[in-house]
C-alpha cells in the first residue's frame, strides 16, 4: 500500500489554492459578514444587524442603480447578439480582405475602456466633438440619454469581441451537416435557416448569458465616460458600490449591494443553465 505523498500535492496545488482561498473565497465570505456592519474604512467595523438591508429597500439611489443596470443590459445585450451574429456570418466566408475586416473589428477591444472612454468623451463633447449632430444632441449632458450613450460606447468597443465569439461558434458546426444539406438540394437561405441557426443555438445562449452577466457588472465605461452623471443618471450597480466606498465611506452598506449583485449573477447563471439544459 502506497502512502499518499503529500509533498507533490502541496507543491502543485498549494500556490493556486493560496491565491484562490486568500483573495477570492475568503473575501466573499467576509463580504457577507460585512453586510451586517457599518464600516468607514478607517475605524474598526461596527455590528449593526440587518440595518443595511433595511436601508437598501428604501434607498432611491440603489433602485436607480438597479434599474439603470437592467436598462443598460436590455440595451446592450440585443445589440451584442444580433448585429455581431450577422457580421460573423458574413465574415465567416472566405473572401478577399476578410482578415483585414476581422482585425479592424477587434481593434477597439485591445485598449482599455479608459482609452476608449477618453476617445468617446471627445466624440460626445457638445463643444469640440467632431460630429455636429452629436454636439447638438449633447447625449452625455441629458438625463434621458446619458445611460444609453455610455452603453453605446461599451457596445462599440465590444462588438468585435462578440463577432469573434460567434465566429468560434460557427466554426464548431460540423461540415457534414452542410454537405448533407447540399446533397438534399438546399439553397443558401434554407441552409442558413435549417442548419446554421439551429446549430448556433447553444453558442447564442451562452453568449447572451455571458453578455448579461458581464454588462450587469459594468463599471469602467461609467467611470470614464460619465462619472455616474449627470447627477446620478448613469449610476449602475457596481459604480454605486464604488461610489459608496470611495466618496461616502459606507463600506458595510456597499457590501450589501455587492451581495445583491452576487445573488443576481447567480440567479441568471442558474436560469441560463436550466434553459440551456433543456435544449
Amino acid at each position: 500500500m502506497k502512502k499518499t505523498n503529500i509533498t507533490p500535492i502541496l507543491f502543485f496545488i498549494g500556490p493556486i489554492s493560496f491565491f484562490i482561498l486568500a483573495f477570492t473565497l475568503f473575501p466573499t465570505v467576509m463580504n457577507f459578514w460585512l453586510t451586517f456592519t457599518k464600516w468607514d474604512g478607517v475605524t474598526p467595523p461596527v455590528f449593526v444587524g440587518i440595518e443595511n438591508y433595511r436601508k437598501l429597500l428604501v434607498d432611491s439611489t440603489f433602485w436607480l442603480s438597479f434599474w439603470n443596470a437592467i436598462k443598460y443590459v436590455a440595451f446592450v445585450v440585443p445589440l451584442t447578439t444580433f448585429l455581431p451574429l450577422f457580421l460573423a456570418i458574413t465574415l465567416y466566408q472566405e473572401f478577399k480582405f476578410n482578415n483585414v475586416f476581422k482585425s479592424i473589428v477587434i481593434a477597439p477591444f485591445v485598449p482599455s475602456m479608459v482609452v476608449i472612454g477618453v476617445l468617446w468623451r471627445w466624440m460626445y463633447n457638445p463643444f469640440v466633438g467632431p460630429i455636429p449632430q452629436l454636439r447638438a444632441l449633447d447625449l452625455l449632458g441629458n438625463y434621458g440619454t446619458a445611460l444609453y450613450a455610455v452603453a453605446f460606447v461599451a457596445f462599440w468597443q465590444a462588438m468585435g469581441f462578440y463577432i469573434y465569439m460567434f465566429l468560434a461558434g460557427l466554426g464548431s458546426i460540423s461540415p457534414a451537416l452542410y454537405e448533407a444539406a447540399k446533397i438534399d438540394g438546399a439553397n443558401s437561405l434554407q441552409t442558413f435557416r435549417y442548419i446554421t441557426l439551429p446549430s448556433l443555438k447553444p453558442t447564442f445562449a451562452f453568449i447572451v448569458t455571458m453578455a448579461i452577466i458581464w454588462n450587469l457588472q459594468t463599471f469602467d465605461p461609467v467611470f470614464v465616460v460619465s462619472h455616474g452623471g449627470p447627477g446620478f443618471a448613469t449610476f449602475t450597480l457596481v459604480y454605486y458600490i464604488f461610489w459608496l466606498t470611495f466618496y461616502r465611506f459606507e463600506m458595510g452598506y456597499a457590501s450589501t449591494i455587492a451581495v445583491i449583485l452576487l445573488a443576481l449573477t447567480l440567479m441568471i447563471s442558474l436560469l441560463s443553465l436550466k434553459l440551456l439544459g433543456e435544449r
Binding site: N5, P8, I9, F11, I13, I16, S17, F19, I20, A22, T24, F26, P27, T28, M30, N31, L34, W39, G41, F86, T90, S103, I104, A107, P108, V110, P111, S112, M113, V114, V115, V118, L119, W122, F127, V128, P130, W156, M159, F161, Y164, A168, M210, Q217, F219, D220, F223, H227, L237, I241, F242, T245, F246, M251, S255, A258, V259, L261, L262, T265
Partner: protein
C-alpha cells in the same frame, strides 16, 4: 456592403483620435484638419508633472509583468496537479475553485480592501499584483490541456524513476509552451487594462498604473488637462501602445486569449 459601414464606424473615431493627438488644441473644434501638425502633445505627455507618465508606464509594465510570471507558475503547477495527481477530494476542490468565476469582482473588492489595509498593501505593487493572481481560469486551461496529453509519456518517465515533480518539469512543462503563450497575453492584457481594483487600492499618484493615470484627463479636478484634448488623445494612445504592439505581433494568440478568457461556463 454593411461590413464597410461597420468598419468605418469603427475606424473613423480611431483615426480622428490619432489625428487629434497630433494637433494643437484650440478652444473650439479640435479636429481642425486632416493634416497632423505638431508633436507638442506627445512631448507634453512625457514631460508633464516631471515625467510622471513614464513612472506610470513603468508601474503598469512591472505590475503586469510580475502578474504574468506568477500566474504562469501557479497555473501550470495547479493545472498539472489537478489533472494528474490523485487525492481525495481533488475534483470537489477544483469545482469549488471553478465556481469562483461566478463571483463578481465587486463582491470581493471591499473585503480585499480591508485585508490589504490590514497587511499594509495599500499603495504597493504587491497590493496591485496579488489579488489579480487569484484567477482560476488559466489553471483551468492548463488542466484541460494536460488531460488531453497522452499519459504514456509521463508513465515512461515515472518508470524511469522520476519523482512527480521531475515528471512535471521534464515531460509536461515543455509541452505547455503554447498554452503559456495564450495565458501570458491574456493576463498581460487584463492587468494592463485593469481599472476598478487599481482605483480602489492606489491613492498615491506615483503608484498609479498608466491606465489609472489616464483617467485623470476625464476628471473635473484636472480641468486643464481635461480640456487639452490633444494631450488627452496622446496620453491615451501612449497608454495602449504596448498592448497594440503585442496585438500586431501576436494577433492570433492574443485574440485566442481574449476569446477564451471570456469562456465562463
Amino acid at each position: 456592403m454593411i461590413l464597410i459601414v461597420v468598419s468605418l464606424i469603427i475606424l473613423l473615431p480611431i483615426i480622428w483620435m490619432i489625428l487629434v493627438s497630433f494637433q494643437e488644441t484650440y478652444s473650439v473644434f479640435v479636429l481642425q484638419s486632416w493634416i497632423p501638425s505638431t508633436l507638442k502633445n506627445y512631448v507634453d505627455a512625457l514631460t508633464m508633472q516631471k515625467g510622471i507618465f513614464i513612472r506610470w508606464m513603468f508601474n503598469s509594465a512591472f505590475v503586469s509583468g510580475i502578474t504574468v510570471i506568477i500566474t504562469l507558475v501557479i497555473s501550470t503547477l495547479g493545472g498539472y496537479g489537478f489533472a494528474r495527481l490523485n487525492f481525495r477530494g481533488r475534483d470537489i476542490l477544483f469545482t469549488l475553485y471553478l465556481s469562483t468565476i461566478m463571483i463578481p469582482f465587486a463582491t470581493t473588492m471591499i473585503p480585499l480592501l480591508y485585508l490589504c489595509k490590514q497587511f499594509g498593501l495599500v499603495n504597493t505593487y504587491a497590493g496591485l499584483i496579488l489579488p489579480a493572481c487569484s484567477n482560476i481560469i488559466p489553471t483551468f486551461w492548463i488542466r484541460q490541456y494536460v488531460k488531453s496529453l497522452p499519459i504514456e509519456l509521463e508513465d515512461a518517465a515515472r518508470v524511469d524513476g522520476c519523482s512527480e515533480i521531475q515528471v512535471f518539469t521534464h515531460v509536461v512543462f515543455p509541452l505547455l509552451k503554447p498554452s503559456m503563450g495564450v495565458i501570458a497575453l491574456y493576463t498581460l492584457w487584463n492587468q494592463w487594462n485593469a481599472l476598478l481594483w487599481p482605483v480602489v487600492i492606489v491613492q498615491d499618484m506615483n503608484m498609479y498604473t498608466a491606465n489609472l493615470g489616464l483617467t485623470l484627463v476625464t476628471s473635473e479636478e484636472h480641468a486643464q488637462m481635461a480640456t487639452n484634448w490633444g494631450l488627452s488623445m496622446a496620453l491615451a494612445l501612449l497608454t495602449c501602445l504596448p498592448l497594440l504592439i503585442m496585438f500586431i505581433l501576436f494577433q492570433k494568440t492574443f485574440v485566442k486569449g481574449l476569446v477564451m478568457g471570456a469562456l465562463k461556463a
